[in-house]
């Protein structure tokens, strides 16, 4: 439970998302090939996998986001072969980082997703809508959540979160 008081101080930063690729698979063999290339299985819906700089998020039923500079897109594409397609999308996204115990409360404002549920912990992801903008949430740590935001909407959205965060403090 999030309470008022000093503990809720939440910082919000906004940066370029950096390299992100959308990986779409057309068959199970593609999943196996990618898992072999990555060294781990592709995550299930609502989950991420991988290490810092090489995060895989399942974003759509058949689409995963490869998030981070640690991937070699050419190698992935080679491993993928005829089982799917890889497309760069990172130039269209900004990465907001909400740090501090109040991040869950901040994301509940103008949102509809239950970011306060206990089960939504590190390694969890969710695509949802906040203030009319489609965003992807990714819990990095108990006190930190990253949000991928379409670049054109990012500044007003983050300004709103900062206002909310200030009001919670």
């Amino acid at each position: 439970m999030i309470r008022k008081g000093r503990a809720t101080v939440t910082e919000v930063t906004l940066d370029e998302a950096g390299p992100i690729h959308a990986l779409e698979l057309w068959d199970a063999a593609g999943g196996d090939a990618i898992a072999a290339a990555l060294g781990h299985a592709l995550p299930a819906a609502g989950r991420s996998a991988g290490i810092e700089g090489r995060q895989v998020l399942r974003q759509q039923p058949l689409v995963w986001l490869l998030d981070g500079a640690g991937f070699d897109p050419a190698a992935i594409a080679l491993a993928l072969g005829p089982h799917g397609a890889l497309t760069a999308i990172g130039g269209g996204l900004m990465r907001a980082r909400l740090s501090g115990p109040g991040w869950r409360a901040v994301l509940m404002h103008d949102g509809v997703f239950d970011a306060e549920q206990a089960a939504f912990g590190p390694g969890c992801t969710a695509a949802t809508i906040i203030a009319h903008v489609a965003v992807t949430l990714h819990v990095i740590a108990e006190g930190q959540c990253e949000v991928l935001v379409p670049a054109s909407y990012a500044e007003p959205l983050v300004a709103g979160w900062r206002r909310v965060a200030a009001g919670l403090a």
Partner: protein, 964 residues
Amino acid sequence: MTGPAARLTRPLVRFRFDGRAYEARAGDTLAAALLANGVTLVARSFKYHRPRGIMAAGVEEPSALVTVGTGGRREPNTRATDVIVYDGLEAFSQNAWPSLDLDLGAVNGWLARLIPAGFYYKTFFGPPRRWMIYERFIRKAAGLGAPPVEPDPDGFAHRAAFCDLLVVGAGPAGLAAALAAAEAGQRVMLVEQDARVGGALLRDPVTIDGMAGVPWAEAAAQRIRMAGGRVLLRATANGYWDGNLVTVVERLAEPGQAPGASRLAQRLWKVRCGRVLLATGAIERPLAFAGNDRPGVMLSQAVRGYVRRFGVVPGRRAVIATSHDDGYRTAFALAEAGAEVVAVLDGRATPEGDLVERARARFPVFAAARPIATRTSGHRLAGVTAEVAGRTQAFAADLLAMAGGQTPVVHLHKQAGGELDWDEVTQAFVPGPSRQGQRSLGAAAGRSVLAAILAEAWEAGGGAARDFAVEDPCGPAQPAAAAVIPARLPGKAFVDFQNDVTLDDIDLAWREGYRSVEHLKRYTTLGMATDQGKTSNMAALARLAQAQGVAIPQAGLTTFRPPYTPTTLGAFAGPAVGDHAGPVRRLRLHAAHEALGAIWLPSGYWFRPRAYPQPGETPGEASLREARMVRSRVGLVDVSTLATFEIAGPDAAALLERVCATTVGRLAVGRGRYTFMLREDGLVFDDGTVWRIAEERFLLTSSTGGADRMAQHLSYVRNVLAPDLRVSVVNLQEHHCAAALAGPRATAVLERLTGDAAPLHMHCHRTAIAGTAVLVLAASYSGERAFEVYAPGDRIAAVWAALLAAAQEAGGGAYGLDAMDHLRVEKGHVVVGAEVDGRGTPADLGLGGMVRKAGGFVGWQGLQRPVLADPAGRRHLVGVESLAGPLPEGAMLVGRAGDEPQGHVTTAAPRVAGEGWIGLALLRDGASRHGETLHAWSATRGLDVPVRIGPPLFYDPEGARYRD
């Protein structure tokens, strides 16, 4: 400690009413504070401007409406019972002129017989203009408070919440249920509209498990919080929607009060609930008798609340009129506080029981007694005439407390789709079967025995069965029998106190055939006031049932609609007002355009550069200069907002052929084509270009405004119509940013930057600019040799800067959307929203030749329909050339002014190459009318311009300027 002595221990707070300064005690409602100061005349009623005081103590108050606050925080029609006094509160009476005390509007009361319910339907005939004269006076007389005129200085927040259990109402039932659930580890939320927990415990001196009621309640709330539960005060659950969603409005500042550091006046919680328990209490019913609306006539439990909770005794000589035991509690409370109880008028023929006997020992108690009229002195109650066992008896009194039965608050239960049952004993609707699993507790469920209520609520919250020890000095409460509505009464007996609907009005509506409860309500306006019928609906139903000779449930029931209590519009709107009234989409190159002095053009949620005027230039002059710069030298325009999609996979062409009405599959790698898309009805809805950037990878562009719709359409075709294709569709509108370089010097500018040979027209290739990998598409929208240079959003700034510098060096510069529009009109390119208006076929737009005859794309079937297939009589795209001056965009094309339109000018522009005005138009049978002279007639602008119809192409018809 309760009562008048306790009152003095609370801090002083100062407020003003109608300009006069008063003192209140912290925690007082405005109503309590006014009563404490002896202010009994508070308001005037809606129709007859009758003097009104305070009747209730809660949100059901129909009469005591005042305006609270000033400037943008002014809140008209605020119930004095629902605002907590704060230091500096300013309240004003309303709907009275020249003053509350002497209100000329009261003349309506004398005319009452002329203006019964629905009188306006029967008179004020004549032409509409005449009605509007009467209407002006009616409008001025109607309304209650004056609205604010300034913008709201404060904010409103929207916040989602999720819980296993939401409990509405923090009276004993709600507290017990929430406590049981919270301590069992559930995610619990408890909301209470009042500023304090306790509900009925605030007015009745009971003990629970040996603790006095109020401390018990406060301790319970504290334990709920300790267990992780969320307890909100001044928070009203006002709507129970589908999907177990309950909206709760939390007041963070009182009406008219400046909010704290958050600058928020209210917060709207959208609570998605596992389960909902409704412990919303009950509302006391007034009695029907002549003059039952006088200041000094109050609800009995409200009187008790003022005495016990606030320490305010609303009268010195009190008559209690009751239909059941509860009225006696008020008699005892008043007597304890030092008031004289002149009479207890009990409507029952033979009231009996311990409580009644104890009362008889202290007060004059009359059986089979009911008030029939009142007498006033000044504007306040001075006496009550009662019928006692068939005889009339008068009492001098300044307070009359009415206990006419209880109406359980079933609003949320009904909003949630629940049904109602009828309880014969209390003559009340109680919650019946529910649709969303909601359950009602306590008085809201028609219960009256506190120990049983607590036990039931505890179990409903998930607690193990247990008993609660309750001690009540008045003994256990009995079910509240309802007062009978008398068949005939002298004078005005009000049912709806705010809208001034009397029993006579209901009878008149019945006589005139407005007999369904909805007709009655709409004809008399009963229940339509700001109190939403909380105190009036049951009496009206009873009257209706009497007239029909049926039981109340057969008389019908009106719908319970959100909100439960009137809710500030700002709370519904949330933060989406002012600058945030719509999302703003910002270009990646926003700052670069600002630096160039751009003026902005709203385009959906985007703001795009319209033109870059130089000092002294109008936007129109700037656009024409920019367009001519493109024609003569070179220009650069930001086209980043275009919808772009990458379509990859072995079946990419197959998918595109389903979406596009043109041929795509035969496109060679490195080549592009113009294309357009149809809806299923065969009409064009968007256009763009398609490029084969690799054997199994295409880039599709389409219009900015249609981007979301196209994304949805592509996803639909791919996932629903063609799930078996091996293809990936990725929306890259945000990822791809682009600048279009156009003009006779474009090739040179581009080649100098890339060091590569520029691609041929409708070819594409990858290269690099300013160290950034870019995709160059050689497509011309302007009619000049042109290139769209694509780079990822995070890299576009450098690319733009390099292109702009090179263009400037070549004698060019940036151009805006207006120049782009001028250029495309000369070339006859259509635009979605103007020429592509969702009503045209490809042939209408001159694109019929590009349609794949074999079909196989969305919309091919619709296009076969006879009216679409036959071009005769349809509107065709044509060019129009003004024969005299500027061409009004949107003007009708007519044979001569006054004729019926044959078409209209979709876009108008000055010629870039040459002088004069040209435009595009949709004209009936236009394809065969080239050379005709018509008039572009704009009656709204007083313009009539002769035009010549021609082909939609005004410049370089062979395309020599951009072909290689």
